[in-house]
Each structure stands twice: as C-alpha cells, then as structure tokens.
Symmetry: C2
Subunit: 212 residues, 2 copies
C-alpha cells in the first residue's frame, strides 16, 4: 500500500494527539515506515539533547534566545511550553515537505493542534486523536509502565478525561485496543484522505480533457 | 479487517457512482464480501426480471403502477428513469439497515446521488466516485468488452467526460487503474469513515465517564 500522489500535489498535514498511555508514539513510528511519502515533522526544542538523540532527527535543539526570536518572527505553526522547556513546529519545516509533495505527520499535544487548526483549513490538515479503549485500560497501561508514582498516574488519568472531552474537535478517533486494528485504522485514514476529491481531481484534468 | 462499530450506532450510507467501464460493479461486490457490517442496497425497478436475477437480491421487481404509487407516497430516497425503466431506492430499505447498525452501500448514478445528497447530511452519507485512469483506458475497456457498437462507445466516452466533471460533488475519488489498489482505497474510505469522531465519540462516553 502506498500513497501514490504525484509530486506536483502539495502534501497534507496529519496531526496526531493522544493522552499519555494511548500508544501514540509506537503507532506513529509504524505508520512512518509504511508510507514512503509521509515524513515525521521534526520540532524545535529548548531542552537539552538526551543520550541517543540526534540533531535534526529527534529535534532541532536551539538556545532559548533563538527560540524566542523564532516566536517573535512568527516562524512557528505551533509552539508550547512543557515543564519549563519549549517545543515548536516551524512553518518552514512543514511547507518545505508539502511543497515537495510529501505528507507530514505531526505528533503534538492538544494545545499545539488547536493552534494548527487556526492556521490550516480542512483541506490541508487532518486531525486524529488516539485513545485507549477506556479509563480502566489506561490505568492498567500507566501502572504497567512502572515509571510513574501513583499520584502522577492519577493526574494523568484526570488529564486524560479532559483531553478526551477535547477530542470532539478532531476529525477522527482511533481506539488503540488491538494494536494491529488501530494501525489499520490509522493507515486507512491516511489512504482515504489521499482519495479526497479536492486532492485527486486537479491531477486528473489532463487525462480526462476537462476543466476542474 | 472489519467494521467493529456497535449495533447501537446508526449505520452510514456509502454512495458509489462511476462512468460505465470504470469497474464499479466488481469493486462493489468485493467490498460487500470484505465488510460483514456492510449491506448492499436493493433497489426497486419496473424492468423485467432477467434470467439468473432474484427478487429481493438483485432488485425488488414491481409494476409501473406500484412504482408510481411509491413515488406519490414519498417512499423513495432517490429514483430515476433509464431507457424507459424506473429504478429507485426506498427510504425504508436504507433506514431498516441503518437502524440495525449496518452501513449500506448504494450503487447508483449521478442523478440518484444528487437526490440523496439533498436528503442526507455529511455525517450520514459518504459519496465516492470511481474512475478509470484516463479516457484512453476507458475507451480500451469499453472496446475490450466487445458488446457496444462504435457509436455507443463514443456516446459513453462523451457521457463520461460530463460525469467526471460532476465528480467534484463527491467526497472521494477512487482511480481504478490497478484493481487491488482501488480496492484498498475503497476499503480505507469505509474504515476511515467508521473512525470519524462524530461516529466514535458517542459510544465512548460511558467508558471515559464524560459527557459528549
């Protein structure tokens, strides 16, 4: 299965958000491997590079001053501050991929998605929310990680309820109960969005000798 | 891959149209076999039953008088007259399936689709147009059938151009160049539409203890 639009078509944005514990990171990694035309958006961040991370692959690592200048210059499609560090998606990053005909996957939180929704219309950006099947399963997964204290888990679950309420603003919901089923759904959304008539028809005008 | 929405969710309508020679009939047959929850809408018609056809499977065969009464009673979601015979989809047919949680596939022409578009909103009906890759391939397929006189083929190709122009009103376009690719795209559209947040969220409210 491949996304076979021609390079002359501008790419789309696929914005993926999820509460912690929904399995978003693994799903996004797999989906990038499946679609050769899909690129993962690399964010800018002010936090320090961790062992194993690579500049330009995991993040673009910049000084707080540079990040502030980029905000002032209107360089970000979205940005947010989390635990004292700033993270942002540069408009240039998105537009360079899109102009080459690549779709771009953005793995960002609800606040970032809200900012993008104001900048990009329905024909340019698709918003996908990934959910665990219910709160019981979410709790099981968070506890199963063994990394969070009980009060952190309670806060994450409390946050998740608020986030799920916000998911009504998203176009699609993928329930990550069975992983392969969730992957099929995410794949299907990307393939289906590539079939939208607004995206397909302009490329067909010549072959059918019509004006669109 | 299956459509695993619960029966408590009302089903959606998938309306499929195509110019003659696009391969719609074969695609629709295959897709019905793939999704256990998807039902093929059986139309009413005034034309005579052909050998091998079955009442209630291929069509509901009715007298012209009965068909006229059904029109007068507002029983049809859409109907059209083609070569002196009438064909129509009864609202009851659609609603009975939908109320049981089944999605319904309607294999109808552009006029019928236009009528349905007025009755069913975007959250209820999805409009899909199937196309051959270009007019050259369409001509090759129509000539390859060996059933149509040259002037019939010319008329079909001329009609196709007009129909393709009308395809801008459809939500999705599936190009039937490679059959398996087209089938994947049609499958993906059905799976993706099942993930629309407006369809998924109501069923989740209980599991996440939220009001939607």
């Amino acid at each position: 299965m491949s996304n076979d639009r021609t390079a002359s078509t501008r790419g789309s944005l696929f914005v993926v958000s999820a509460p912690s514990g929904a399995g978003k990171t693994t799903l996004c990694r797999r989906i990038i491997d499946i679609f050769p035309n899909l690129r993962h958006s690399v964010s800018f961040t002010t936090r320090s590079m961790r062992p194993g991370e690579r500049e330009g692959v995991d993040y673009f690592f910049v000084d707080p001053e540079v990040f502030a200048q980029m905000i002032a210059a209107g360089s970000f499609a979205e940005w947010a501050e989390v635990h004292g560090n700033r993270y942002g998606t540069a408009i240039d990053t998105l537009e360079q991929w899109r102009n080459c005909g690549h779709d771009v996957l953005l793995d960002i939180d609800i606040q970032g998605a809200n900012q993008l929704r104001k900048s990009y219309g329905q024909s340019e950006a698709v918003f996908i929310f990934i959910l665990p099947p219910d709160l019981t399963e979410l709790r099981r997964r968070l506890e199963g990680r063994g990394t969070d204290a009980p009060e952190v888990i309670e806060r994450r679950i409390s946050n998740a309820r608020g986030e799920i309420q916000a998911s009504t603003d998203y176009d699609y919901i993928v329930i990550n109960d069975d992983f392969e089923m969730a992957l099929t759904q995410l794949k299907s959304i990307i393939v289906a969005e590539g079939c939208r008539s607004s995206r397909v028809l302009p490329a067909l005008a010549t072959g059918f000798d019509i004006n669109i």
